[in-house]
Symmetry: C2
């Protein structure tokens, strides 16, 4: 079976694939070592790290900036935010009052545990802080890289469609919480909330689901309640 | 400079990175060989292949299904559509009357030229056809893989935000056309069309931009006009 195209045939590039698969295994093994280091560090310092993942433009930054500004959590908040380019998101978080570090990944499509470890060090995250890690906008690759975080949150906006959990199962399988965002746009788009929840639970029966709108504020209390118990 | 984290330091995983960079170079070299084969095949058969890329849920499938159903182009249309899982998109295209092949990539985050070559073979794409290649929903990785296509189109929906060309520059730099979709939702979202065009042109001065709504039909004539000249 061809590791690249999944075509089931025996192609000339198979040696190439085997080499790639070996390198991939090395990458994941190395990543897991760094993730374990991060996890131990977070535990020692009482830091709760939350890895927030989604497609580009699903509302990660708006929701997290609102969460920080609302300040219902009674603990210090830090943010590490990744983008291919620009520091717009970091600027937005700074305005909301959090300690922030921007990572630019260039062509790299995900955060890994090593990058995160460096950023945590550079940011001097406080003891007992809540640490939001806003991953690259990508519903595919970040699902494969553990960061040593306590929880993974996947964000899906109602404009993206209710079938996404079935089409991108790796992300929804790995998440502890599905945050459905932009609920204020629900009247204008063909999105079936009940069907979306059903799809997510079909992929991951234990996933929690909370629907919110950062614009109208609807549902945010449930998100803050979830956070307050972490 | 560390190829994984870009941290500028000398880490113990550098040998690992060098190995990975070598494998990546091999992957891109091999991909370019397959892309060249595809390109020659397409030219010989008079097939115009268009690689359509975007975030998940930006409206690729809805727009292409509408384009096929409207049937303004006077030439056969085929579609090759990629998703991690499911054949929902292929079903939607079949209903609109095109020849369709679904590729499921599993954990793989992009189409490559080898996968596409197989799919073109299996689908028996007709001479002089227009071939839409709907890539995986991912604004990051597909930008790096040429498929031997004649044109690359990036789709951005107004709900995703006008700063995306700056945050995901590789995708917008490689595209011939930016299609801005879901224009019917413009009244409900903070999206500055003029600023978005300015951002896209800052990254790629020669990119064409067309704004459409597949729901209201607004702007579709410009998209069909663009297609009719290809």
């Amino acid at each position: 079976m061809c590791g690249i195209c999944g075509c089931g045939e025996d192609h000339e590039h198979h040696h190439h694939d085997e080499q790639m698969i070996q390198v991939e295994q090395d990458i994941f093994a190395k990543n897991n070592q760094y993730a374990k280091q991060n996890e131990i560090f977070f535990e020692k310092k009482g830091i709760t790290a939350i890895n927030v993942m989604s497609s580009p433009g699903s509302g990660k930054t708006t929701l997290l900036a609102k969460t920080i500004a609302d300040n219902h959590l009674n603990r210090p908040i830090s943010v590490i935010v990744a983008d291919q380019q620009t520091d717009y998101d970091a600027q937005q978080f700074k305005a909301s009052g959090a300690k922030v570090k921007q990572i630019n990944t260039g062509k790299v499509c995900h955060l890994d545990a090593h990058m995160l470890g460096h950023a945590v060090e550079a940011l001097h995250v406080e003891n007992n802080a809540l640490l939001f890690v806003e991953n690259i906008g990508n519903l595919v690759c970040p699902a494969l890289f553990d960061l040593g975080e306590a929880y993974k949150v996947v964000i899906l906006s109602v404009t993206e469609g209710d079938n996404k959990p079935l089409k991108y199962p790796y992300m929804f399988r790995t998440a502890d919480l599905l945050l459905i965002t932009k609920m204020d746009l629900l009247p204008y788009v063909p999105f079936d909330l009940e069907q979306c929840v059903k799809n997510a639970k079909a992929i991951n029966p234990t996933i929690k689901v909370i629907a919110v709108s950062a614009t109208s504020g609807k549902g945010l209390e449930n998100w803050y309640h979830w956070l307050s118990k972490k």
